[in-house]
Amino acid sequence: MTKPFAIAIHGGAGTILSSQMTETHHQQIVSALETAVCAGYQVLKQGGDALEAVVVAVTHLENSPHFNAGCGSVLTHKEMVEMDASVMFGDQKQVGAIAGVRHIKNPITLARDVLKHSQHVFLVGDGAEEFAFEQGHTYTEQDYFFTDRRYEQLQSMKEKGLFALSESSYPDDKKFG
């Protein structure tokens, strides 16, 4: 008998206004969410563990330009991406976390590798990337993460001396995280 399994995902919270969102944008968001949650669910359905399921789901979200993670990441003051990620597996409370990485396509898989293949739980910056390359992650140029939308967003913030939580030129630009 199959034991119960289930999954949930999120793509960020904040000021998301229906009045400013086009039907096309709405459909793209819904489609990306559905694809990600179904991918994670398939892992569970085939008997995979919860850790792999959440990593697969988040990897899909990181590969979508619609969310602030992976290829959709916002830009720092220096016009770079700088990403953070973490995973936790309830079985024996295993943990992996990374912060401030700039050249890793899927930060969540690096966090998982810290959990699985490191004696440590939290790696940052250049050291995290050094560990990533030892684990077989490929160097990803900043160009991969760069989008016109995020660049315009950054310029708007810079002009007003603000951070991401206080400006909006897209329907979900006040969305957090």
């Binding site: 968001i29 597996f89 409370k93």
Partner: protein, 136 residues
């Protein structure tokens, strides 16, 4: 920020969170996503949580571990524990955002004090749900 929580067929819970941070950030700022107990937490026989919102507030309130502690020590239901934190102390200090959670019975709960949160789930019966706005 993006995140996921899951319960597998062996009864294990897991949580994952990933983010690009905030636009125009300086000084190597790190938010809650990478901080276990703030943005991410998973504890077998209890709950798994991933959060999204104003990272500094979520770190100050150790949001994810606070939800887990309420369920573990106060025996609160998943919806009560999540809403108590998100609509309680967090909101009171202006901490805007939300979280997703799943318990060891596979019950899923979304909680947010913002206008919306991109979210989706597939429950124990295989029902797919995709929502965006808070009032959905």
């Amino acid at each position: 920020t993006v995140g996921s929580v899951a319960l597998d067929q062996s009864g294990n819970l897991a949580a994952a969170t990933s983010t690009g941070g905030v636009t125009n950030k300086k000084y190597g700022r790190v938010g809650d996503s990478a901080v276990i107990g703030a943005g991410t937490f998973a504890e077998n026989n209890n709950v798994a949580i991933s959060t999204t919102g104003m990272g500094e507030a979520f770190i100050r309130h150790t949001v994810a571990s606070d939800v887990a502690a309420r369920m573990r020590y106060l025996n609160e239901e998943i919806n009560v524990a999540c809403d108590s934190v998100i609509h309680g102390e967090l909101k009171n200090i202006g901490g805007e955002g939300g979280l997703i959670a799943i318990n060891d019975k596979g019950e899923i709960h979304f909680s947010m004090n913002s206008l919306g949160m991109y979210r989706a789930s597939i429950d124990l019966d295989g029902n797919v749900s995709v929502k965006i706005y808070a009032d959905e």
